[in-house]
Symmetry: C2
Subunit: 138 residues, 2 copies
């Protein structure tokens, strides 16, 4: 299955999620772990489509998610920085997902500069992450 | 906002719904009404996008839906037959929505031939409609 860039943008406008989790990580120097993630979750009938997305970007994994669904996920910060973010900068999202993407990109760039290991940087990331998920349930 | 065909296909793969309702309609000759509908429901932040879709196809309406969301809907059988179905025949959907679309198109074509006013035709449409929504909730 060969995908086109505009199809990928449209599908991401429909089903894509840009998310940053700031999770407690006891025993580490920072005490927390910052986990950015680009994901698309679909029912198992669309397994082939998720694998086509993985092949399209050349990064990420397709794994089982909740409720028998499948997820295409990219969590590697370098892959997000070098592949996912440049793609969606070149091919602009048309929905409100674009707003979440721009915040997500800020966090990924800060992480590439190791800002999440500084108290100020971590606090800024926390604020951005908290803004990103507003209204997602709709 | 200018949309491209592949974006429209990708967004429909993500959020589009092809549905046929066979509803009781007391007092009419058939006793039922067959209502095919192509729709995309999104939160109010994406109002501009739904209006861009309406402008792209040149048919349908944008209206309030449940829970403060907005819906782009095409219900006119001739518009479905002349505009929506040819578009998605030319630009193939990549997800399982394609399967629902092919069933939907069969119903729309049957309705253009007035098959829904014959008992056999109506029974066939009922069967197709019942198959279409399987698994939609995921």
């Amino acid at each position: 299955m060969k995908l086109e860039a505009q199809w990928v943008v449209g599908f991401t406008d429909g089903r894509g999620r840009f998310h940053v989790e700031v999770a407690p990580q006891p025993g580490t120097e920072d005490g927390v772990q910052v986990r950015p993630e680009f994901s698309i979750v679909r029912p198992p009938e669309d397994a082939q489509l998720l694998h086509a997305l993985k092949a399209y970007f050349g990064v990420g994994v397709v794994r089982n998610d909740h409720d028998g669904r499948l997820a295409y996920r990219v969590r590697n910060v370098r892959h997000l920085h070098d592949v996912i973010c440049p793609f969606f900068m070149k091919h602009t999202l048309r929905s409100r997902t674009h707003v979440a993407f721009l915040k997500f990109r800020r966090v990924v760039r800060m992480m590439m500069e190791d800002a999440h290991h500084e108290p100020d940087g971590l606090e800024a990331i926390r604020r951005i992450a908290a803004e990103m998920d507003v209204g997602r349930s709709r």
